[in-house]
């Protein structure tokens, strides 16, 4: 912690030592990974999915509390994966007979799971005028059976050629009625009111029929100007995606990925701002000495003694909880320790001969502080910034965890808050709890590793012991 140690090493030497520190390099690697995640999330994930994080309608196609899909890897029974197919996944063909057109969207679906799907949904979106198109849905099963499960005209449109979107649920009465015709195929009693089971069951034995299913959605259009904008099928499963989903059907992978740039932003902004403020404040106090020092140190004592989390909570409740405000609040509590350290170092440095010489040459105080004292403390400053990052990230995460974070964006703390308020832990929804916490810990760990590596280079005493 002494200035003389910090002075001996040149920038080049610090870099050389750092390259030899395994833990420091590991920290850098983790941070590069996080930056990669941030870039990926800004480029690959549509911005709207993060803006819509808290709007339930956006996530309606997703399953509720689904585990990650990789739980199926292994020998255990395979849990059906939640599948969302849209027009782009379909093979489209079209037959024309005069005015009448039949547009066929067929979806191929491999069903090799050991449980029945929980439900399914048929989606469509069509543009038509006064004559309503007719929708027919067939399911061709792996055993060759062709079930016509739905045949009905789309709802009448009041206006000229508006786009009409709707979804047919597996609980629809029309599906059950159509399926009743096929009950005879089964050698045992099948219940046509549970289509998600009947469609996926074997005819001879009461078990799941595995293999490739083809779902054919045929639209009969009666006007040459009518068109099909979208179609699709959602097969309800219990596992989904890389990270699963939460109680509100949100894709946790989106939240985890978007949490990275936000955490890095908070960590860097808070620690850099707080440490720089503390550095200048402390050096100024130490250099000026006497009453200035006394007064400034009393002020920093006040900040040191304030209970940080309670005051942070009060601030976010009364002033606001946007991410920028929270960043500012965290700075208020972050600068004090650096101020204390840099003050004591400035006390030593100001008696160095070159500082006295500069003073005798009539250089202004500001110039001496910024040209002669602060540059000596820069290595220490970088180490302190790195060590201060986890505190900032944890601070924001704790606030978010208590439900006092920025409500408009997903942060790791907030995901954990939602998990805790839905008592995810006592319900066993581990995929909702583990990843955000691991991300918080890894991010913090990376900066601590770098900070410790820098610190042990700058303070050989702590390296030795």
């Amino acid at each position: 912690m002494t200035a003389t140690n910090a002075k001996v090493l040149s920038r080049y030497e610090i870099a050389r030592h750092f390259r030899r520190s395994k833990s420091g390099l590991a920290g850098v690697a983790i941070i590069l990974g996080l930056i990669g995640m941030s870039i990926y999330s800004t480029v690959a994930i549509p911005l709207e999915s993060y803006r819509h994080w808290n709007s339930p309608n956006f996530w309606i196609d997703y399953p509720r509390s689904a585990a990650p899909s990789w739980v199926n890897i292994g020998l255990g029974p395979k849990i059906p994966e939640h599948t969302i197919l849209h027009m782009k996944d379909a093979t489209i063909s079209s037959i024309e007979e005069g005015q009448l057109r039949a547009v066929v969207h067929s979806y191929a679906l491999n069903f090799n799971y050991d449980y029945y799907p929980s439900d399914f949904m048929l989606l469509y979106s069509a543009r038509y005028g006064s004559t309503q198109p007719v929708l027919q849905v067939n399911v061709v099963r792996p055993d060759g059976q062709d079930f016509m499960i739905y045949f009905a005209s789309l709802p009448s449109s009041q206006q000229e050629r508006n786009e009409f979107s709707a979804r047919v649920f597996s609980t629809d009465r029309a599906i059950a009625e159509n399926l009743r015709d096929y009950e005879g195929i089964f050698s045992y009693k099948q219940d046509s009111s549970r289509p998600e089971i009947m469609i996926f069951a074997e005819a001879q034995e009461n078990k799941i029929l595995k293999g490739q299913y083809v779902i054919r959605e045929t639209f009969y259009l009666f006007d040459s100007q009518d068109s099909i904008e979208d179609s699709g099928i959602i097969l309800g499963g219990k596992v989904y995606g890389l990270m699963g989903t939460d109680e509100l059907r949100r894709d946790l992978a989106v939240g985890i990925l978007w949490g990275a740039p936000i955490a890095l932003f908070i960590g860097f902004t808070v620690s850099i701002a707080a440490v720089l403020i503390g550095l200048i404040y402390g050096v100024f106090a130490g250099y000026k000495g006497k009453h200035t020092d006394e007064g400034l140190m009393r002020v920093s004592d006040v900040f040191y003694s304030l209970p940080a989390l309670p005051i942070l909570i009060i601030l976010s409740v009364t002033i606001g909880r946007s991410i920028f405000l929270i960043t500012g609040f965290l700075v208020i509590f972050g600068w004090v320790s650096m101020a204390k350290v840099s003050r004591s170092l400035a006390l030593q440095l100001k008696n160095m001969q070159y500082v006295e010489a500069a003073k005798l040459m009539g250089q202004s105080d500001t110039k001496i502080i910024f040209r002669h004292i602060i540059p000596q403390l820069l290595p220490l400053t970088f180490a302190t910034i790195a060590i201060a990052v986890p505190g900032a990230i944890l601070g924001e995460a704790s606030l978010s965890f208590l439900g006092l974070g920025d409500p408009s964006i997903p942060t790791w703390g907030q995901i954990l808050h939602d998990a805790n308020s839905s008592s995810a832990a006592s319900r066993g929804l581990w995929w909702w709890i583990a990843p955000p916490g691991i991300m918080i810990a890894i991010t913090g760990l990376a900066f601590v590793l770098i900070g410790n590596a820098l610190d042990s280079i700058l303070n050989p005493r702590s390296r030795k012991i």
Partner: protein, 348 residues
Amino acid sequence: MGGYGRFIAKRSINMIIVLFATLVLTVSLLGPTMDKILTDAIKFNVVEEITQKELQFSTLEERQTFIDNRVKDQITTFGLDEPWYAPKRFTNTVLKVMVLDLGKSNYLTSDSGSSNVRDIILEKLPKTVLLFTTATVIVTMIGLYLGAFVANRAGSIWDRLNSSFAVFSGSFPIWWVGMLMIFGFAFTYQIFPPHSTPQTSPSDPMYVFDLLYHMTLPLITMTLVGFGSWAFMVRYFVVGVLSEDYISAKRTIGIPEKRIVYSHALKNAAPPIITVIALSLASSFGGAITVEAVFGWPGLGRLFYDAIGFLDIPIIIGLTYVSTVVFIITVFVTDLMYAYFDPRVKVA
């Protein structure tokens, strides 16, 4: 001795300034919200009063004027006609809280039904003290022995394992580890209750056991997260002492190594360690908020969390003030002790 007296005086003044500043800050932050809540409550009470007394009015306007007048009257009696920052009200609030006259809460009550903020805090305080003191004692015991153990083997595999564990465990948010523990030991293996509020009533003879049973999971969590960094810190101080000359002297005269490490070195490293114990206990309120929120432990942190939910301003101000007082007095006492034992501190 004159130097020591001046030191105490300076520190005392300092302490009072800090307390005052905290209080002024808290009151200024919460003042506007407090006024709004109180005015709303008065309006609500007046309308309630009309329905209860079944007062009849010939016109709607008459009713409205009656309400307005009643509200105005009550606002004057409560002194709310002046804003919270009016000198009289402001000094009044600050001075009252300073002497621990914390007033009445808006919504929350103690289990015995009192809405006196002091009663509520005194009722919850023992729970937080119980949980956090026990945790600190356990963590300190493990930390002391583990720290001294690895200090004696600085650079060994044990030492490196301990250092990595300290860095690693320090990175995890304690409330997250708490959630994992609930998942592991309340869901997967149903050993402990997921919610730590005891079900039996305090008068029941089994209450103590029920309380201890409910306390186990939070306790294990805090120990797991805490002991690594404690051992690391103890190691740091002990290694410092072990490199002193008088220890080498003891070695040369043949005092057994075990005795040197666990008795002499640990004893000499005690002052900074005791300081850290005192400060961590005094500042445990901040940690209590998140830990008690996860486990539902009925202590001060939980009370603060609930008070934030209900915006129960008197409780928020009271708790913030009390926790600051505890922290500052601890800092003060440890400073004095340090100065007494180590005269160099006074000069610096």
